[in-house]
């Protein structure tokens, strides 16, 4: 791998890579995005605003009651091999 051909190939690739970077609107791996929501918000509030403090504590989805739900967006992502479907487990 240290022969001159490999060195030339590397040098050529690097040169063209550097040229690409210098040009505007260059190669970018797709899908760059803005980040939000990564910052942790104050999670330590009492019950995180979702449950009132009283009486909810016995709420506990057991395995049985789970089978119903997943009502998210994944079912709307149709795929050739059916990965988007959410069948009850």
């Amino acid at each position: 791998m240290k022969n001159s051909i490999a060195t030339l190939a590397l040098a050529g690739s690097l040169a063209s890579a550097l040229a690409t970077i210098a040009a505007p609107a260059a190669f970018a791996a797709e899908n760059s995005e803005k980040c939000y929501g990564v910052a942790m918000k104050g999670q330590n509030d009492c019950a995180a605003g979702k449950h009132d403090c009283a009486g909810k504590s016995t709420m506990d989805f057991d395995k049985g009651s789970f089978k119903l739900v997943p009502a998210g967006t994944c079912t709307s992502m149709k795929t050739p091999d059916g990965h988007g479907m959410l069948m009850p487990a």
């Binding site: 690097l14 890579a17 990564v38 999670q43 509030d45 403090c53 739900v69 997943p70 988007g84 959410l86």
Partner: protein, 251 residues
């Protein structure tokens, strides 16, 4: 509180089947059981909130109710080991992988891994990325042995699922629509400045970056990437890596 009391108290908090710790008293006169139940609920609700904040796209995919129930099971099996909530859920993906009700959503663990990597990148050290221009001055003879130092926020993820597309659609980065091309996707997570970026990697890109990040020299990394994917394009991948700030130095 003795250590023993503390331990029993902590165990009972996340285990609903455990008896209420001995010696609890309540000044209001209502049973300590009811007071302790409120405490139990708050612990689960707060930690569920922490997981939902860290894995919003995953929550979006399965829905709030499913996510909350799955999180509660995880919290009971893996209570926090550190007071830092920002690292809580590092092993959530492995848990979900074995979580029976989520088996139908085979890609969910990889979406969780991607979100976990984003959180880590967000909290990684701030370091300026390598200025690509410094490479131009190198003698060609040195290139083959070049070793790069990865940016502390860099994470490369490989998935047999279109994980970047699925994540982007559920994080509000892309419109939700049918995925016509259900193909494997590799992702790069990086935070060169203030913003965490997720990039879809071209063929061989993940193998290339992983090799370089482990300290493999450039020539060997190129061999590994070419082995991984015939279509590996060295020039495009070098440009992509340098441009996204994946490295901070070379030697």
């Amino acid at each position: 509180m003795s250590l023993d009391t503390q331990t029993r108290f902590a165990v009972a908090l996340t285990d609903p089947a455990a008896p209420v710790p001995k010696g609890l008293a309540s000044w209001t006169g209502s049973q300590p059981e009811r007071r302790f139940a409120v405490y139990r609920n708050n612990v689960i609700a707060a930690l569920t909130g922490a997981l939902a904040a860290r894995f919003p796209a995953s929550q979006q995919i399965v829905g709030e109710a499913f996510f909350a129930a799955m999180a509660a099971d995880f919290i009971r099996a893996h209570p926090p080991r550190s007071p830092l909530l920002l690292s809580y859920g590092d092993d959530f993906a492995e848990f979900v992988e074995r979580f029976e009700p989520a088996k139908a959503i085979a890609y969910l663990p990889d979406v969780i891994r991607l979100e976990a990597a984003r959180g880590k990148a967000y909290h990684a050290a701030d370091v300026a990325s390598l200025d690509a221009a410094t490479l131009a001055a190198l003698s060609p003879a040195r290139l083959a042995d070049l070793v790069f130092v990865p940016h502390p926020s860099l994470c490369v993820l490989r998935s047999p699922h279109p994980v970047v597309t699925i994540w982007a659609m559920n994080a509000g980065e892309a419109a939700l629509q049918p995925i016509a091309n259900w193909a494997a996707e590799d992702a790069m997570v990086i935070r060169p400045h203030l913003i965490v970026e997720v990039r879809r990697l071209p063929p061989g890109g993940a193998a290339f970056l992983q090799a370089l990040a482990q300290g493999t020299c450039l020539a060997a990394a190129v061999d590994i990437a070419t082995e991984d994917a015939d279509a590996f394009d060295l020039s495009a991948n070098l440009a992509g890596a340098l441009q996204s700030g994946a490295f901070i130095a070379f030697r």
